[in-house]
Symmetry: C2
Subunit: 117 residues, 2 copies
DNA sequence: CAAAGTGTGTACTAGTTAATACACATGACA
DNA sequence: TGTCATGTGTATTAACTAGTACACACTTTG
């Protein structure tokens, strides 16, 4: 679908230039999947892997898990759990923030972090 | 898992008292699934149905789709799409709001609705 | 009483997810 | 030169998702 595979291949190859431990095979072994599978993932021959595997891959490559999950077309399960506990409030909030510019989101984030309610 | 089935059975039976069009069979037909399947859903014999079916059921029973999806252990795809477009910002915001009390969430919702940033 | 409507038990299934296992050709390297 | 590591092609799979199809027994209802 998107360029999930391309993105991690690029990232891995960059790391590989400076550190031979970032060969496809070695990365695959460290995150616990078959090399052939990682190869297919990177070339987009198969759909992105499960959430758990994507997160391990993100850590391995020093990427933000939420960003990589987004590229994989997913939303992290723990965020979903938070939403599921108060679906009306979160649904309304998120839909309202759909069109808001980034700086507005940041503003809200900061307000919540600093604010006392 | 949760009481998804119980919840919709209760809801449907209440509606059925006043309107015979809310028999299991007729509801199943209107939302486009087999009666036997709805029966199993209501008794929790199978896991909750797909998002699309859950949403049709919510509309049929006059329930909030987001709430029913939450009971089904899911988060609506359109909310996920919004999050996926700006994963870092939304992930941080949602995790920060995890522990916030309801009135704080409402406060933010209102601020975003009324405010100009 | 017959016809229609009700809920449910049993059996089955096409499609998807998330992978594994093995073989192979190529390149590095000591 | 041999051996080791590398990336990839092909074949296969167990578990899960999201249902359908049909038969059955019971209850209204006309």
């Amino acid at each position: 679908m998107t360029h999930f595979g391309k993105s991690i291949r690029t990232r891995r190859e960059r790391l590989h230039l400076e550190d031979k431990r970032f060969s496809l095979r070695q990365v695959a072994q460290r995150i616990g999947i078959e090399p052939a599978y990682l190869s297919k993932i990177e070339r987009g021959e198969v759909s992105p892997p499960s959430e758990a595997t994507t997160v391990r891959l993100a850590h391995e490559l020093g990427e933000d898990p939420d960003v990589l999950l987004a590229l994989a077309g997913k939303v992290s399960g723990d965020l979903q759990n938070i939403i599921r506990k108060r679906p009306k409030l979160f649904a309304e909030l998120i839909r309202q923030l759909k069109e808001a510019p980034d700086h507005a989101l940041l503003h809200v984030v900061r307000e919540v972090r600093d604010g006392e309610w």
